[in-house]
């Protein structure tokens, strides 16, 4: 894992000191809420329905055991004993008191964490594949590049007041797992014919009320030029992006209105003026950062055979192959049947931190599916890890299956929401369990957003639900066929919106239609493509 040097530590310290003064000025009445708002937003503090919310950055979703213990401590001491992991690989606390926030930030700084740029119209936390540095299928480890981008984007003098928020995702694998097609900038590590490392560059993807798949700007950008090229994209966007309409301010709208070709031309022209200068990424800095992400050592042995069917089921669903011998990737589902997607209690966080420390090189990841991952578990310890997770209520065997539902906080917490999300997710989770369809259906993604801002990523779900307020009634629109990773796709609206009860039934009906109509080995999306919407609509609307 990356460790701060003096420069990194100084900057975080100076920022927390500065914010402490700003909070004091607010609490004493010197600063109005109006004047305080832009300051708190740049430090991850939102005003939600009931209270302030603090969003803590988990850079590219990577945590150490010590860091996760600190997150548990904050949940216990300053919140109500739990934290909420988000689709942006961050964690949110829903109940902190404003007066405590400077203290929380100070404590986070002791484990090299912060809440900088987790909100506001700036470059947000860079996200990546949660299996980075562990998965067998990667071209190169994306984490050093994420760290380079994290630093470059922190307190950027030119890009802190963009037309709108800005999100960058990096993947090192063909399989993606970072949804680069629906980000403002998506980067895919690739090698050219000579074997040199670089990036395929995409821009203009996004979800929200106008979902768009990103356009490819470049097949190959040498790694040396990464920061110059990012600067060029951001500069073109910052100068030309719309500022008159909040809903048309994201880069996807600019790329679409200019056309990908014209946008690329402008970016390349700006890049020509920037490349090779001070923005050239130094070889030594890449070496320095990469040394923190060296390949892990092999585990102590293969997993023993265990008869327990629960263990076997969990292992076949939640455990993924590792790039190093006798190590395994373990996905910890935060989606128990009927639970709140993404929530973890302080005790659960501590249990995970302990397991990671004992059997997994003290490393934990947060996923955009709102789960946790133990990326480097010693394969010999898998049965022990399963027992420990089971004791903590964290051994739900549904990673990547229908019950692994993604949900935004919805109307229960969020002042933007039109409809509840979490209770619907809980209902669907119970209905899937009751239907007995989960095992038969296999890998299917279900995601719920409580409003058109799409924080629940419903556009890119195989089965998506969007909460809409229809004359005071909460109704839900079903979308089918979305894909987040790899060949990203936006789901298609299935038909008229449904009441909460019917929406839950509609999800089960969609699963049933898939299981009925699929051919051997066919994915949800492939089946839908072949049959068209009709059989699904019939199942949803004519039951």
């Amino acid at each position: 894992m990356y460790r701060y040097d003096e420069i990194d530590a100084d900057l975080v310290k100076q920022r927390t000191d500065e914010f402490r003064e700003q909070v004091e000025a607010r609490l004493s009445g010197q600063l109005s809420e109006d004047a305080f708002k832009p300051l708190r937003l740049m430090n991850g503090v939102y005003l939600q329905l009931h209270a302030y919310m603090l969003r803590v950055a988990i850079p590219y979703g990577v945590l150490s055991s010590d860091q996760l213990r600190m997150l548990a401590h904050i949940a216990r001491t300053y919140d109500r004993g739990y934290g909420h992991f988000t689709t942006r690989q961050n964690i949110q606390y829903n109940w902190p008191a404003l007066v405590d926030i400077p203290e929380i930030l100070d404590q986070l700084a002791t484990v090299e964490m912060h809440a900088i740029q987790t909100s506001g119209n700036c470059i947000r936390n860079t996200t990546t594949d949660p299996f980075a540095g562990a998965s067998a299928d990667e071209v190169a480890d994306p984490r050093p590049w994420c760290e380079l981008i994290r630093q470059w984007s922190t307190f950027h003098p030119e890009f802190s007041f963009l037309p709108r928020k800005f999100k960058i995702a990096v993947t090192g694998s063909e399989a993606d797992r970072a949804a680069i097609g629906v980000h403002d900038i998506g980067l895919r590590l690739v090698r050219d014919e000579a074997g040199a490392l670089g990036f395929a560059v995409y821009a203009g993807g996004g979800q929200g009320r106008t979902p768009r798949i990103a356009a490819k700007l470049r097949d190959f950008l040498p790694w040396r030029d990464l920061l110059a090229y990012l600067t060029a994209i951001l500069r073109v966007y910052n100068l030309a992006g719309r500022r008159d309409n909040l809903y048309k301010a994201r880069i996807k709208i600019l790329v679409e209105s200019m056309g990908a070709e014209a946008f690329t031309r402008d970016v390349e022209a700006e890049f020509e003026t920037l490349k090779g200068g001070e923005l050239a990424v130094p070889h030594e800095e890449v070496e320095r950062i990469s040394a923190f992400f060296a390949p892990v050592r092999p585990g102590t042995g293969a997993a023993a055979q265990v008869i327990d069917p629960h263990y076997r089921r969990w292992k076949s669903v939640n455990v993924k192959p590792h790039q190093v011998a006798d190590r395994a990737i373990v996905v910890i589902s935060l989606k128990p049947v009927g639970g709140t997607p993404g929530d973890a209690t302080d005790q659960q966080m501590e249990a995970v931190a302990d397991i990671a420390e004992r059997y997994g090189l003290s490393e934990i990841r947060v996923t955009k599916e709102q789960n946790l991952v133990l990326p480097h578990i010693d394969a010999a310890a898998l049965p022990t890890v399963f027992e420990a997770l089971k004791d903590a209520g964290l051994a739900t065997a549904n990673a990547g299956l229908a019950g692994d539902i993604v949900s935004c906080p919805g109307l229960d917490y969020c002042n933007l929401a039109n409809a509840r999300s979490i209770p619907i997710a809980q209902e669907i989770s119970r209905a899937i369990e009751a239907s007995g369809l989960e095992e038969a259906a296999g890998e299917v993604s279900i995601k719920i957003s409580g409003c058109i801002n799409a924080c629940g990523h419903h556009h890119v779900a195989n089965i998506g639900l969007l909460g809409v307020d229809k004359k005071g009634e909460e109704v839900y629109q079903l979308t089918l066929g979305g894909v987040a990773d790899g060949e990203a796709a936006i789901g298609e609206i299935a038909g008229r919106a449904l009441s909460a009860d019917d929406a839950v039934k509609g999800v089960i009906a969609s699963l049933r239609a898939y299981v009925t109509h699929r051919e051997a080995g066919e994915s949800f999306v492939a089946t839908l493509k072949r049959t068209g919407l009709e059989p699904f609509k019939e199942s949803i609307y004519d039951h």
Binding site: D5, I7, D8, D10, L11, Q14, R15, E18, Q22, A35, P38, L39, N121, L148, Q151, W152, S153, T154, F155, H156, P157, E158, F159, S160, F161, L162, P163, R224, R235, N238, L239, R243, T273, K275, G276, G277, E278, L279, A280, V281, P282, H283, E284, E285, R288
Partner: protein
């Protein structure tokens, strides 16, 4: 950089100002500021970050006058303002004491204020440490050993800089023998003797050099600054800037390490030269640094190399024809900029390099 926070526009000393707003396009802005001493960029809202990009673009394109931000700005934006290139601000609400706060101690990005970003500070420290360690080990090593150490350490980002002058063949021969794929950069100033160019081609052929890269002046610079081909008479420094310093700066992208042919016996700044050298940006490898003139001559003879055709005509060192003369002195560098106190063209001078990067922009 400190910023001038002025309560009223009249607090600033310049009377003539041009004002543009944040909606101005970069091209329009460049046109508007050309020839101006003082420019205001007006922010209708602190959220309108276009002003930061406009300032950055104007500074990058060489606008050197005063650049002031006016309008709805927050004290918390003072770092953003100075680092984007503003040197003054007149905010709508200037009475906030927070306008006096100092900025952060470090930065992660290069900026108009000129401080090195964290990644460059770290890199320069690493390069300096590397050079110290290599000098410890190779101070008395032979040219071949120094070249081999450089290849082992810096393969893929190392190039040789060669003038194809009177002494160049020795370095080229050693390189061709050990690592003929190493790029060799040659500055074609368009002011070379014909003999230098034919000698270059002959050496490429004889030695089997595979990667000679010719760096030429930007035609736009030539037509702007040297349309009459007499720049060397008016301003020989400017001539070197557009014909050597700038093309090299462009050509060096991707090369962190440069092999040079400099030797202590050249005198001037070179008398204390080490085999490895950090110039504040790049590493230079000087395999012949410590060789005496006699030892170098012996090496040259032992390699059985052709001589530069102009040696026979009494030129100990050959550069561009306008600034090179035959000489009878004792030093190899005699005859370069004869009659002036110049001893270097500037490509080994990082201050000159930085200045020259902006040379064409001085027109603004």
């Amino acid at each position: 950089m400190t910023i001038n926070v002025a309560l009223k526009p009249s607090d600033l000393d310049t009377a003539e100002r041009v004002e543009i707003d944040t909606a101005t396009s970069p091209d329009e802005a460049l046109e508007a500021v050309t020839g101006q001493d003082a420019v205001d960029i007006r922010f209708a809202s602190f959220k309108d970050g276009r002003g930061f990009s406009l300032a950055a673009v104007l500074r990058a394109r060489g606008y050197a006058g005063q650049l002031r931000a006016v309008g709805d700005l927050l004290p918390d934006q003072i770092d953003h303002l100075t680092r984007s290139g503003f040197d003054a601000v007149t905010p709508d609400k200037a009475d906030d004491p927070r306008w006096q706060r100092t900025g952060f101690s470090h930065a992660y990005q290069p900026d108009a204020a000129g401080a090195a970003p964290a990644y460059r500070q770290r890199t320069f420290a690493a390069r300096k440490a590397k050079v110290d360690a290599l000098n410890q080990r190779y101070r008395d090593a032979s040219p071949d050993e120094i070249l081999a150490a450089a290849q082992a350490e810096f393969r893929g980002r190392i190039a040789m800089l060669s003038s194809f002058g009177t002494e160049s063949a020795a370095g080229l021969a050693l390189l061709a023998r050990s690592a003929p794929d190493t790029p060799v950069l040659f500055l074609d100033t368009k002011r070379h003797f014909a003999q230098t160019l034919s000698y270059r081609d002959a050496l490429i052929e004889t030695l089997g050099l595979k990667q000679v890269k010719i760096l030429e002046p930007d035609p736009a610079d030539e037509s702007k600054l040297d349309a009459d081909n007499r720049l060397y008479q008016r301003d020989s420094l400017a001539c070197c800037d557009i014909r050597k310093v700038k093309p090299l700066a462009r050509g060096l992208n991707g090369y962190d390490v440069l092999i040079t042919g400099r030797k202590r016996y050249h005198g001037g700044d070179r008398t204390r030269l080490d085999p490895f050298e950090f110039d504040g940006e790049r590493i230079k490898v000087n395999p012949f640094a410590s060789l005496s003139e006699q030892a170098f001559a012996a090496l040259f003879r032992s390699l059985d190399l052709p001589a530069h055709p102009l040696v026979a005509q009494g030129y100990p060192s050959v550069g561009c024809w306008p600034c090179t003369a035959p000489a009878e002195g004792n030093s190899t560098r005699d005859g370069r900029w004869a009659g002036s106190d110049r001893t270097e063209c500037g490509i080994f001078d990082s201050a000159r390099t930085t200045r020259a990067r902006q040379a064409s922009y001085r027109l603004i």
